[in-house]
């Protein structure tokens, strides 16, 4: 996993909505707080998925015992939009911002169903974007103990 600056050094925005971790999601959010992107690996069939669900999509296991598995955070942009009006608290000062629809490309995902994440592109609305553009995960620190995944252009 890419080394990142210490979370305490990042600006904290307490206005934005935060996730409420549950049994399935807690490992993901714990890793995200360390600025580490994980996917959920089914203990029965080994397929990586996001987000984890009650039953494994790939093998049907009703006891998938998902393991939060680090991935390299690289991906390609499949689509994007410039959000100019946010319906959420805490984003008024951030609009306009870019949301990217990213297909992760970690080698561990080869040969299995695609895994897509949607998040903010932190390079700004003027950053050059095209379908297939390479990105890597970045994290936005919302609280000292909470970070959410976003993306940056890999070339930047």
């Amino acid at each position: 996993m890419t080394a990142v600056e210490r979370p305490e050094a990042r600006p904290v925005d307490t206005q934005r909505p935060v996730p409420v971790p549950d049994e399935l999601s807690a490992p993901f959010w714990a890793a995200a707080a360390r600025h580490e992107l994980t996917l959920a690996r089914c203990s029965d069939c080994g397929t990586l998925t996001h987000p984890p669900d009650l039953v494994c999509d790939a093998c049907g296991s009703t006891s998938p015992r998902f393991a939060a598995t680090p991935v390299d955070g690289r991906g390609v942009v499949r689509s994007w939009t410039v959000v100019r009006q946010s319906f959420l608290p805490g984003f008024a000062d951030l609009v306009p911002f870019v949301l990217v629809d990213v297909q992760l490309v970690d080698p561990a995902l080869a040969g299995q169903p695609d895994v897509r994440l949607v998040g903010r592109l932190l390079d700004g609305v003027d950053a050059p974007l095209s379908a297939g553009a390479a990105v890597r995960v970045a994290f936005e620190q919302l609280r000292p103990d909470l970070a959410v995944p976003a993306f940056e252009l890999a070339a930047s």
Binding site: T81, V83, S86, F87, L88, G119
Partner: protein, 400 residues
């Protein structure tokens, strides 16, 4: 398994009513629904005590923090039944997307099986005061924890991502989408009940509108409204004795996404692949193909869905929908064109979901479309929602 619908053309629509579509009705949604259902029952030549089945879908499609209150912001089948004919033999609600094909299918199946004789299918849609989609929630549990904290929230961003994927892949222009929206508003302007009655939109107005979530502007989205429609269904056999020419349900199909996704994440390939499956099911169910359908009415709650439905149904190849609509391809005033938005759609009526498409198919096949009546419409097809989560119905003038 052939997939053929065994009750093909054995159940018919025999009456309808459509309330005025307004931004905020002057009475409660419940009262408006009772009035509209009574009008539909009367239109069918029936009395309320003959209606022994009630079906609806109560989805309140807001991402905002609005209370769901039966009779106020939604109207369930049970709520309506209690006020029209308590203790009906059959009352059911459809819970998925594609609320019109979903609830019509429940009603058709109930009648075909003998679970009910006369069923009212209604759809009641409410526009709450305040912002439709905004929320002040600062915590998200469950599925939304994976999207809202990241800034991905609401249907605008949903369709913007899908449509930009289409734009990037196929080179669709804003000028092409203008043709869709202008056509919907033109047809909607001719409907006395429409929110947009007598208010068409020009291409210039469309193109001047700023983006909300690129490449989607306000005019690409249907406007939230208060409005109710109701349809009465019964068996083809009983329909013969009723006042209007019956319109039979030949078949239906709904989609199924190929992959579980984040909430409100609609990758283009999901819509295309599940849309193709949905269309195959539809032709198998109805026992006919696209070339046997006289009138197709596509869903347009977001304007790009018109392309995706045209492509899913096979009106044009995948990626060609934006060319199909150019140069008057769907112009209802041009002889020989394919008037897929003759209903005005949601863009031309207001957020009535799949009602306009169903209503136009009913009116045209039953010969009740008045000034809009087109000759020789004996089969029709209506769509609702997206090809991968919604569905479609096929209708016929002929009893099975």
């Amino acid at each position: 398994m052939s997939g053929r619908f065994r009750a093909r053309d054995q159940v018919a629509i025999v009456g309808y009513a459509q309330s005025p579509v307004t931004r905020h009705a002057d009475r409660s949604l419940g009262a408006l629904t009772v009035e509209t259902a009574r009008a539909a029952i009367a239109d069918a030549g029936l009395e309320a005590d003959q209606v022994d089945g009630f079906v609806t879908a109560t989805l309140f499609p807001t991402s905002g923090a609005h209370a769901v209150v039966d009779g106020v912001s939604v109207v369930s089948a049970d709520w309506l039944a209690a006020r029209l004919n308590p203790n009906p033999r059959y009352a059911a609600g459809f819970s998925g997307l594609g609320q019109i094909p979903g609830s019509m299918a429940l009603a058709v199946n109930a009648i075909a099986s003998g679970a009910a004789d006369h069923v009212v299918v209604h759809r009641a849609l409410h526009n709450p005061r305040g912002s439709y989609h905004a929320t002040s929630s600062t915590e998200f549990a469950g599925p939304m924890q994976w999207t809202a904290p990241q800034g991905f929230f609401g249907p605008l961003a949903m369709i913007a991502l899908t449509y930009n994927e289409y734009v990037q892949r196929y080179g669709a222009s804003r000028e092409a989408l203008a043709e869709v929206v202008v056509e919907a508003r033109k047809n909607g302007a001719r409907l006395p009940w429409s929110y947009w009655a007598d208010r068409p939109l020009t291409r210039e107005q469309y193109l001047a509108e700023p983006m909300l979530d690129d490449p989607i502007s306000r005019f690409d989205c249907d406007i939230p409204i208060d409005g109710v429609a109701a349809f009465v269904l019964t068996s083809a056999e009983r329909a013969r004795d009723l006042p209007h020419r019956p319109v039979h349900v030949s078949g239906y199909a709904t989609g199924a996404p190929p992959t579980r996704r984040l909430p409100a994440h609609w990758p283009l390939d999901d819509l295309v692949s599940a849309g193709a499956t949905m269309a195959e099911r539809l032709w198998a169910s109805a026992g006919m193909g696209l070339d046997e359908i006289d009138l197709v009415q596509v869903y347009d709650g977001f304007s790009p869905l018109v392309y995706l439905w045209l492509e899913a149904l096979g009106r044009c190849p995948v990626g060609e929908g934006h060319r199909y609509v150019r140069d008057g391809g769907i112009d209802s005033d041009r002889p020989g064109a394919d008037p897929v938005l003759l209903s005005g759609g949601s863009l031309g009526n207001g957020r009535m979901h799949g009602v306009p498409q169903l209503l136009e198919c009913y009116l045209q096949v039953s010969g009740r479309a008045g000034d809009r009546q087109r000759p020789d419409v004996t089969t029709a097809l209506s769509c609702h929602s997206s090809p991968h989560l919604g569905g479609a119905l096929v209708y016929s003038a002929e009893a099975g």
